[in-house]
Symmetry: C2
Subunit: 385 residues, 2 copies
Amino acid sequence: MIIGVPKEIRPGEERVALTPANIAALLKKHDVQILVETGAGVAAGFTDGQYEAAGAKLADRDQIFSSAQVILQVQTPGSNTTNGQDDLDKMKSGQFLIGMTDPLANPGFAQQLAQSNVTGIALELVPRITRAQAMDVLSSMAMIAGYKCVLLAATTANRMFPMNMTAAGTLNASRVFVMGAGVAGLQACATAKRLGAVVEAYDVRPAAREQILSVGAKPVELDLDTGEAEGSGGYAKAQGEDFLKRQRELMTDVIKDMDVVITTAAVPGAKSPILVTADMVKAMKQGSVIVDLAAERGGNCELTQSGKTVVEHGVTIIGPENVPSSVPHHASQMFGKNMENLLNLLLNDQGELALDFEDQIVADTVISHNGDVPHTRLRELLGLP
Amino acid sequence: MIIGVPKEIRPGEERVALTPANIAALLKKHDVQILVETGAGVAAGFTDGQYEAAGAKLADRDQIFSSAQVILQVQTPGSNTTNGQDDLDKMKSGQFLIGMTDPLANPGFAQQLAQSNVTGIALELVPRITRAQAMDVLSSMAMIAGYKCVLLAATTANRMFPMNMTAAGTLNASRVFVMGAGVAGLQACATAKRLGAVVEAYDVRPAAREQILSVGAKPVELDLDTGEAEGSGGYAKAQGEDFLKRQRELMTDVIKDMDVVITTAAVPGAKSPILVTADMVKAMKQGSVIVDLAAERGGNCELTQSGKTVVEHGVTIIGPENVPSSVPHHASQMFGKNMENLLNLLLNDQGELALDFEDQIVADTVISHNGDVPHTRLRELLGLP
């Protein structure tokens, strides 16, 4: 069987779906061929020579789409709504497409694939079970994003993060506040702590308290009823408007003393909740910084503009898009390892992709197959019986 | 006496010469008035209200230049050759001007001040003696620059700095190499170390070895004769071309394995030595990063363009200008404290500036006085008897 890795085409996307190391590992285990588009890894720091040395064959884009039975992408046309359609037109009946498809926000993509009789596997739907951890791209990319957003904040801040006692007096450490203590939030806490900041964090899930302490940050507690804040799969559950209003009131007092606020509260497939209102921004100090990791889903801050850095009431608000792609080498390494692990599960002894729908990982991630959409949740979203 | 703090006008300059805290401290000790230009501290995160609360009077620029006997600037027209001339035209006979003047690169400024009978005090010339440490702006600003350049590198790098062991495999720590272990270089080592990188450093001065170890980095040793590398005042001495050539050969081998190279080898008043040649850049890994803190003096890397970020042979080379100004709050806090300490030395009981040329700090820093240039080194540079 032939597996194809085209170059990513979404504007700004610098990752690649497999690294040379992943390819060497796959070729050792499975009787497959792997085609990589010329230059596919360059933006992530992997040269064509390294791919060839690992056993891949270099090919052009059309060759890959016409000859590979499985196409691997970081951003499939499902998540790349900018210029992904070109690739969708190249797909053929019977092919497999594995990558990120933004399934809950763009369920219609599953239908498009089904119409072309392409089997689509959405990496975002990998279940949060122990066996699937090594394939969980949301976690691995959130880790990168949590690290990088702290650097964006520190680079923009008008002060240093660590405390310094010098001949020219004492400089206070910056106060960093992280909202949302999922993978990204905890990594943000750890990174800000490394840099010497005084770090506090908040999450509606009571279980987050221990996790926040474990990365050296101080949990902020608000007087709120948080009994049912954790939804299935360990993600934060969407909350009612009354709850969010009270949360905002108490939060204003916390936020006004901070130098940096990092928000990471994204609910999969849904618009992000507003945690930082315009009034809270107004109450903040001149020169403080907000990094809104939920910018792409509408943002956790009312004044965030996705993909832009704006200054409002003297506060710089950064709304970065596709943060993992800005650390493309390590992000590709993790993404590629996730992909390699998934392929190890799916490839049978003959080197063919064999889907066992009794396996939760398969059942949860396959969004189109045999000209239909087998996925229960997507069928609901699409209004299919 | 009236002391005036105008807003900085050099493009991109966000610092301010005194903070509200410095002003409160000075007014408590001395019988002086302090005028601050409206909005002077805003870019550094200090509001007009904070200045007024500290006892300063707000004024417009012309008022300050016409009524203050002492003008305090971060960048005087000596270092601000872009649009500083405007201010020079506003200065009056008998006034004092204290700030950075770029004295060794722009000695002619001392003559300009002398012609206007303005007494100029250049903060860059504060001697490196224990008693003057608290006034040493080169050290305090180098500390800021050393911190910030690591953030620039980390934000640009295609990989994370710390090692990470995750469900998606192990990510190696980045390797950071710091060239020049003065204040900036040592702070760069410490900051990269904080972020989790593997840090190595090099300096021609044998004494630097202990200092490099003290901030958690590994000293790189080259097989070179370095007996006379330390000049007066603890700064690196300019080296001969043979020495530098051999240094470059040995260095190529070191550099090719690095993910990040930070160069900080500036010789006061002279063009910076080339430590990283185009050939060395060519030998580096795809996607690695160089930050050249000596960019403004020509750069330590042959391919650096001052004020720009360029990509050459797959390596991103950042040549930042005026780095301390990009952390304006803390930089102003340190600069202001240096300035406050100097004023405490210079102000007498009547709240007047009294220059005691027997004091080394005065003798070393006054570049113009009584219509003449009293400074020995500047007289030499200017060819004056």
